[in-house]
């Protein structure tokens, strides 16, 4: 049921680029109900996009990217795609090299895994997100009508909560909320923090044993080996750091002001619904050192996204639904897809204000990124230049679909908490808090 990242990036037949473009334009004209890929009928997709990657045509082949954030297994997702949009997809992929009609084999061949994947509302499938939104709206309407004459104000919070519960129980539309209360307390806690706790326990245990060894002056052999290993790693770290610093000194960072027309055309696709998207592509700096560092940082972010940033914010940024990094063209280029709430300015501003360390850690390994020191310092903190750089490497997204265009990440997570608390017994104080959540105002 969990959300997964799926992406297929295939080369486009040079003569068929314009045909592909007009097909995608048809979809863009009515993304939900168009005749080629009727996204509103795809029950496994949260967000999806088609992008023609055609920058640096002299060096890299033109490619078509299809990416989705989906529920169910990859097999089931692909099956649904074929079932609902087989005809349209056939037309689209006929514009790509080597497509012979066998989707499964083709997708397998051109599938690209995510190097780092972040989800703003983990563990909730599309149906659950929609159900919980309906639940929140129904409770709002119920409260509005019941309290028209102020009668609810004379009751206790838990009495009101029970009244809401009774109303919901009586309505078969909300059977899902009655049957399943949503993730349980301790289970949820461990699921979200388990790995982190194990990690901390391991470190704690190690330090304890070292301490014990120092105290009794008797180190078990395996502990000695472990200490030597750590010492070696520290040395290696400083060697690598020196190499990095030397590279950074000679890094080129030319951030030209971006062409106004380009920004305007990107902005023409923005600010229609609550959410926005961006597709961003950069060339990795040459050399294996940079490539390996990039992969390491992406791996670290991917891990952190699972064990630490799994409760609705990525490094403090609360507005990202799904984001992923993918490496293409033999790891020479880094592609970034993001689906987020609010404006581009707000999103990039959050990058600068809240998550500049992590983002600099990733993108300082790409060409022309604002001057960086020690992999994570400066870089994205140079606000104006970083934003200029971001627009420079942003590319148009021909087709973009969102399955819940009126919901922010905070809405979705709040709705889950409303559902979770609805049939749970709680104190008056907690019930009052729960009631406050309904509108969150």
């Amino acid at each position: 049921m969990k959300q997964h990242a799926f992406a297929v990036i295939a080369p486009v037949i040079p003569g068929k680029l314009e045909e592909l473009r007009s097909l995608l334009n048809v979809i863009h004209g009515d993304v939900e109900k168009n005749s080629l890929v009727r996204f509103c009928d795809l029950g496994t997709i949260h967000f999806a996009r088609f992008v023609i990657i055609e920058t640096q045509k002299e060096t890299y082949p033109v490619q078509l990217s299809f990416s989705s954030n989906h529920d169910e297994s990859e097999e089931e997702h692909i099956s649904e795609l074929i079932r609902v949009a087989g005809e349209g997809l056939k037309k689209i992929y006929s514009c790509c090299e080597g497509f012979d009609g066998d989707f499964k084999a083709y997708f397998l061949k051109y599938k690209v895994p995510a190097k780092a994947y972040y989800i703003g509302h983990r563990g909730r499938g599309l149906a659950q997100i929609r159900d919980e939104s309906r639940l929140q709206k129904a409770i709002v309407d119920f409260l509005d009508s019941e309290n028209r004459n102020g009668s609810l104000n004379k009751m206790n919070p838990s009495e009101i909560k029970n009244k809401i519960g009774a109303y919901i129980k009586s309505n078969p539309d909300f059977e899902f909320a009655v049957k399943y209360k949503g993730l349980d307390g301790p289970d949820q806690f461990f699921r979200e923090r388990g790995l982190l706790i194990l990690l901390l326990l391991a470190i704690g245990g190690f330090l304890f044993l070292v301490g014990k060894g120092i105290h009794s002056l008797a180190f078990p052999a395996w502990l000695v080996v472990l200490i030597i290993l750590l010492a070696t790693l520290t040395v290696i770290f400083f060697v690598l750091k020196r190499k990095l610093n030397r590279l950074e000194e000679t890094d080129v960072s030319v951030v030209d002001l971006v062409d106004s027309d380009k920004v305007n055309s990107l902005m023409r696709a923005e600010n229609f619904v609550v959410q926005n998207q961006l597709t961003h592509i950069v060339e990795v700096k040459p050399g294996s050192f940079r490539r390996r560092t990039l992969k390491f940082v992406l791996g670290a972010i991917n891990l952190l996204a699972k064990i630490l940033f799994n409760r609705g914010t990525l490094g403090g940024i609360p507005s990202i639904h799904f984001a992923r990094w993918v490496m293409i063209d033999s790891d020479k280029r880094l592609l970034f897809f993001s689906n987020f709430d609010g404006s581009w300015e707000n999103y990039l501003g959050d990058f600068v204000d809240k998550a500049s360390v992590g983002l600099t850690g990733v993108w300082s390994n790409s060409k022309n990124f604002p001057k960086t020191e020690n992999l994570v310092s400066k870089g994205a903190t140079d606000e104006q230049h970083f934003k200029e750089w971001a627009r420079q490497h942003q590319i148009p997204t021909q087709v973009w679909y969102t399955a819940y265009k009126g919901l922010s990440v905070e809405n979705i997570n709040n709705n889950s908490l409303i559902r979770r608390g609805l049939f749970r017994k709680m104190s008056e104080a907690k019930a009052q808090q729960w009631l406050k959540r309904i509108n969150n105002g």
Binding site: V263, N271, S343, D382, E383, G441
Partner: protein, 475 residues
């Protein structure tokens, strides 16, 4: 050892950067079009000695001048650009793509409202005659001085190829209230080391946020427009000591606002046909604003209107008395336009973040008040007239998209602000929506509130330094 105070070139900055000329209550904003670029430069030469800079306020009237990108283009400046102006300024506030961002968009008709603005900085239709070039601001201490100055500057301009397009009259009232009846102009950032006035650290902002040539809140000097002189071939920092000026004519439907408030404040004992409970009406309106009519913040004093006039501005939402905490609606106008410590969950970080999006407000009201007393109870019972009234909203900032546009899109017009669902700003917002008032045990939720403000004109201007104006006049 305290850090050395920042030094500023006040003699270069136009006065509006340093002061709002609040004591000069008689003000005109004159919109002009350049018809003869060569002659217009002569006009500039005449104008420059009359301008007020940011040193002591010695002239009466004080005059300042600003230009749209179209105006600077006509004067030939943009042909010599080395480092360009902000993209937002180049494209204009009235640019259609920007309209969606700013809330100037009619979603039903799928068209920008700026198309029908009475004055603007850009238009996609080349025959649109409402694009202006120059904004002349005249602040006087008496009506006669204002009128005499207006006649004189209009004459000086017209003989020099600069024609008046529109004279925007303003009208301030003795209560310092805006037209809905609320004390306005209270919250202003204090610029670091700008004057002897001190303020809390969390309301003290680096000058670079409001005037070019100095460090901003990121401790970096923001990008400034630079021009290559056709005479000396040297690069001149045109933007230094200048800034971007945002202006929007916001018509306020005062009667519509108070009628709506009245409809939601009926005395319940007689059902829906009851009398309007004046106290409840003021309470509701104040909740929407975030301050009581006299200016006291709802956050620090939520239960009843203390009645007095105040400029109280040193407060944080998390630092109010515990029994008051959480009573100010999250969607209120005052909280939305400066969230202080109330963004997200971390107070200190919130203040730091809020301070990346501050503006220096310089607006003036226009139009006759619906009621001279400006008292809420009188608004409730006075019938409507057919007069236009509202606010010429104006602000200064050096980064239009991070400051003004951000506040407008991400705070004011954002129904998802701070985790909400469908609440909008009903004092300055562009869209209808809901409003949630925190109450125990159940919130008060008002839905489908119409819009009470209509933008009738708008532009991004540049307010150049004295040296930049001289450079322009000699181009």
């Amino acid at each position: 050892m305290t850090a050395a105070k920042q030094k500023y070139e006040f003699n270069e900055m136009q006065g509006l950067i340093k002061r709002g000329y609040g004591t000069k209550k008689f003000t005109d904003f004159i919109l002009l079009k350049i018809e003869d670029a060569v002659k217009a430069k002569q006009w500039l030469k005449l104008l420059i000695p009359q301008l007020s800079d940011a040193t002591a306020d010695k002239f009466d009237p004080a005059i300042n001048v600003a230009f749209t990108h179209a105006g600077l283009d006509k004067l030939g400046l943009t042909a010599h650009i080395q480092n360009n102006f902000l993209r937002e300024f180049q494209e204009g506030m009235a640019d259609e793509t920007r309209s969606r961002l700013l809330g100037d968009y009619d979603w039903d008709k799928q068209v920008s409202i700026a198309d029908s603005w009475e004055w603007k900085d850009a238009a996609k239709d080349v025959t649109d005659g409402n694009v202006i070039d120059v904004l002349l601001m005249v602040y006087a201490s008496a009506q006669q001085i204002l009128d005499a100055t207006y006649s004189r500057v209009k004459q000086e301009a017209s003989v020099n190829g600069v024609r008046e397009f529109k004279r925007l009259l303003t009208k301030s009232n003795d209560f310092l209230k805006e037209h809905f009846g609320f004390h306005d102009g209270i919250s202003q950032p204090t610029i670091k080391d700008f004057s002897d006035r001190t303020d809390d650290e969390d309301n003290t902002i680096n000058a670079g946020e409001f005037v070019l040539g100095y460090s901003n809140q990121y401790d970096i000097c923001p990008e400034s427009p630079e021009v290559r002189s056709p005479v000396t071939n040297e690069v001149f920092d045109f933007g230094r000591n200048g800034t971007y000026l945002v202006m929007r004519q916001m018509e306020q439907d005062v009667k519509g606002f108070w009628d709506f408030i009245a409809s939601q404040s009926k005395d319940d004992s007689n059902g829906s046909v009851g009398k309007v409970d004046e106290g409840a009406a003021v309470f509701l309106a104040s909740r929407m604003v975030g301050r009581w009519p006299g200016g006291t913040p709802v956050a620090t004093c939520p239960d009843a209107d203390p009645g007095k006039e105040t400029d109280e501005n040193k407060f944080l939402y998390h630092s109010v008395a515990p029994e008051h905490f959480g009573k100010c609606p999250v969607g209120s106008h005052v909280l939305r336009s400066n969230p202080r410590d109330f963004l997200g969950t971390n107070k200190k970080e919130s203040i730091k973040l809020s301070n990346h999006h501050r503006i220096l407000r310089r607006g003036r009201s226009y139009g006759k008040p619906l009621v001279d007393s400006m008292q809420c109870k009188d608004f409730l019972c006075t019938p409507n007239d057919n007069e236009e009234r509202g606010l010429y909203f104006m602000c200064l900032n050096t980064n239009i998209s991070r400051q003004f546009e951000f506040i407008q899109h991400t705070w004011i017009n954002n129904e998802k602000f701070n985790g909400m669902y469908n609440d909008t700003d009903h004092i300055a917002g562009s869209y209808p929506g809901d409003f949630t008032i925190p109450q125990s045990p159940v919130r008060r939720h008002i839905t489908n509130i119409p819009v009470f403000v209509r933008v009738r004109g708008g532009a991004y201007f540049f307010l150049p330094s004295i040296s930049a104006l001289k450079f322009l006049s000699e181009l």
